[in-house]
Amino acid sequence: MARSWTLATSYARRELRGGLAGFRVFLACLTLGVAAIAGVGSVSSALVEGLSQEGQTILGGDVALRLAHREATPEEFAYISQGTRVTKNAEMRAMAQAPRTDERTLIELKSVDGLYPLYGDVTLNPQMDLADALAKKEGRFGVAVEPNLMDRLNAQVGDILKIGELDVELRAVIEHEPDRVGGGLALGPRVFVNDAAMAETGLIRQGSLVQFFYRIQMPEDARTNGAVAAWVDDLREALPDAGWRIQDRSDSAPSVRRFVERVALFLSLVGLTALVVGGVGVGNAVNSYLEGKREVIATFKCLGAPGTLIFQMYLVQVMALAIVGVVLGLLLGSIIPFVVQQVAGDMIPIPTRFALYMGPLVLAGAYGLLTALAFAIWPLARAREIPASSLFRDLITPTRRWPRVPYILATGFSLLGLVGLAVGLTEERLFAIWFVVGAAASFVILRLTAVGFMALAKRAPRIRVPELRLAIANLHRPGAATSSVVLSLGLGLTLLVAVSLIDGNISQQVSDELPDRAPSFFFVDIGPDQVDGFEALVRAVDGVHEFNRVPMLRGKITDVAGTASENLSVPPNVKWALQGDRGITYSREMPEGSTLVRGDWWPQDYSGKMLVSLSEELAAGFGVGPGDEITVNVLGRNLTAEIANTREIDWTTVGINFVLVFSPGVLESAPHTFLATVSMDAGEEAALQRSVTRAYPNITSVRVKEALEAVNSMVEDFALAVRAISMVTLVAGVLVLGGAMAAGHRRRVYDAVVLKVLGATRGRVLTAYLYEYALLGFGTAIIASAAGGLVAWLVITQVMDARWTFLPGTLVATVVGAAVLTIVLGLAGTWQALSAKAAPVLRAE
């Protein structure tokens, strides 16, 4: 066995002296796919590593504690500040108004004390100290603001802004805020004020939606992940009922990290798809290489070489080339992060650590070699099986014999290896499995349709137009590239169509449909003493159709049916409910947009043990139902309520709804504010916002249109990235197409010459090729559109539970684009064939 391999290797080396002609597409396919996966892996490693290395800067401390509605009690503060440095920040949404321009906007207000920031630096323009910028000067506090506030308010440095009840001076623009990433979704620009100014704004009232952050810096010798974790454990034990969300430096921005990891997973799966599409090109290249080696194989066989030796000899050659392709891909992929850093380094909002990461490179290399194996074994094994005599006729009578079982198994194992790596190395296993299943299903569907397509072409009635008949015949002729082109180009297109349709549907929802159904405004932090006056004011404004208000508090679920929430293991779809605090409310009637699933709603005049109505999704995820108890920490108090019923909530109405609705009673007496929604004519929105800000400076108005625009632009950015990577798959498909064209080039030259000898003009030969490529392009695009549409429909309706909108424009663009691409590439490859002089070709044959 070993001798056989040695012999095979030495024959392979001799054959490779002949050069690598015909392997350009092979190399390009592997290099592209490996580079894409290696690049995505390296960039995401740089991001995740950056997040983890800069944990304390992103968090703003070694530990960050967050409280809703309330500040830490003196006892709590005493505990956390023992031997540590603590900075306190209050963060809330509020309104800022510029009296000079009479513009107003929603802001993300953050108050800081003298210790802030504990890690990293705040940089301002003009350059000055943060404390200095915010200090009270000549009776007026200063603020530092993010640049986009200047645009929104049409303001400039030196202007007076009104925040709540306080006039402040705009002193500087924030160029860098070290712990920005740690914050959540920003609906408005950041504005810094100092503690004293915050107190004077009058925005912090009982029940207002303010969050207090305590960021803690450990003594220098205790700034390790282990020491920090121990400190956090002690804190949990000492103050179990504080109800704060605790984060430490080891995972400073879990949602950002999760997001980066998910995007990276998705993009590497897309990269893997590109690699598999390229695998078709790999297989084709091996096939046509062996085609050219038929005489050599036949000669070897005549000289007594066993089939195994033939297989090994060419496997060694193919894998040697595969290694070249993979190495090229890895080189390219490892450069990508540095290119990203050069081109977009400033635009990445999170810290990055660009370096060479071995993990993703090894993984990408493994993917590349497995793909090469999976697609090369089959043609190699077939070449080994075919007797020398029939080697010469394979083009006309394709051998239907399958490779021997060991080779089929080897192909299967290589594919399983690919799937195993893709699924096994991620925490999002379910997603990876679905992706692989979807890709495999698309692969099979496209392969079957290709076969059907060719069968259809074969059975097509003889058409009177000879050019068209020739084109149709070319699609199903022995050795036609139809099958591999439909498969490879189709897979790339399927992905692109699916991504475009999903993106299009989300955009449609966010920018077109939601605004129609959504209210015009959300108003938050309406004090109990303001709520009636506020309602009267709103109702007096022209164009208001609807006004709703509900009480609102924030609370953190701490215990579910007797198990502390940190000990609960719940499915990923409900994990969010246990992270941080949730909006909660109380009500006598069931909220609109809800359908009772289990249990009963409490009577109108209910007064008794505290009851809660839970969303069915959460109840199912927690594994609880009516009769079980749930504990929520509100303002530092643990409130336990019995689950009375579960509701199915229709979130698409964008009305007010809460996963937790309590029976009135205890919560009524807790300090809280109200949340109101207003639906009105778009033309009057600015007027309403103006009069509300004037009358109630502390009430924050969220204009839904603006918020949706912010969300939509995020969705668009993300979709752009996804589409860019999907293009890699399409490029791989185009490479395969190009490879197929190149492989058939000699045949086409010959065909064109013979046709010309028989009296066909160049125009007619060209027309025939045009028809052929158009049929191929349109056919592939239609199949891919159907498959991609199906995938998108499944994702939108089944996974996202959203309404499906058919987007014919996207489909038409895809179909036409793909057809044009195929025609242009095909003709580019054929042009030379058309202009070939007849005499030399005829003589050479």
């Binding site: 009578t397 070319n474 065909d751 005829l842 044959e845």
Partner: protein
Amino acid sequence: MNVDHAATSSSLSSGSASQDAVVQLQDVHLTLPSDAGDVNILRGISLDVAKGEAVGLVGPSGSGKSTLLMVLAGLERQSSGSVHLAGADFSKLNEDGLAKFRLAHVGIVFQSFHLVPTMTALENVAVPLELAGHADPFGKAAEELEHVGLGHRLSHYPGQLSGGEQQRVALARAVAGDPEILLADEPTGNLDGTTGEQIIDLMFDLHKRRGTTMVLITHDADLAQACDRVVRLRDGQVENIAPGTGRVMPQDKVTG
């Protein structure tokens, strides 16, 4: 038929076309560039072929026979001199014009068949008919294949046919459009004696029945003699011309 040769009359060397000449070559030169400098392949060939005549072109390798045939087919352009076929002046036709001319007037049979490997026998024969807009290209193609004895091989690909069968397909394809001129470049060169004989019989049969003008390149002296006249080329020039003996067809042999 006239040949511009020292020994022949000069009346026809003026280039004026005789009334019944289908092929008229006047002082045709062809020079091709090569690494070793220009190569003069045809060096002043003048030749007329009358309608319905069969001419055998003979000569050693490199004498320019095949190139001359390429020029006659409009597949190679002369460097100088004039080429008229069926009244058409080749120098006035572009590549597409020449293609259309072939479609209407010329059938060609090659030594190595030149069938399209990915088309069946029937499809190969139908191509020129389809290109010409024939009303029933496949019916006619099938008929032609019947004529050459391949009615049972219609759906076979060239790779599934023997050499003789492939050449019969090529012949059927060449004559399917009823061309006035049939050009053949060593049509039996790749075939064994018996098979070659069958092809030649078929060709002469068609030539006789349809009155097709035929120019036949061959190394086979007997075959050349079977033509009406034999033109011998050497070094790109006509060396001499001799009358042939004519073909004795199998049926003539039987009846005669």
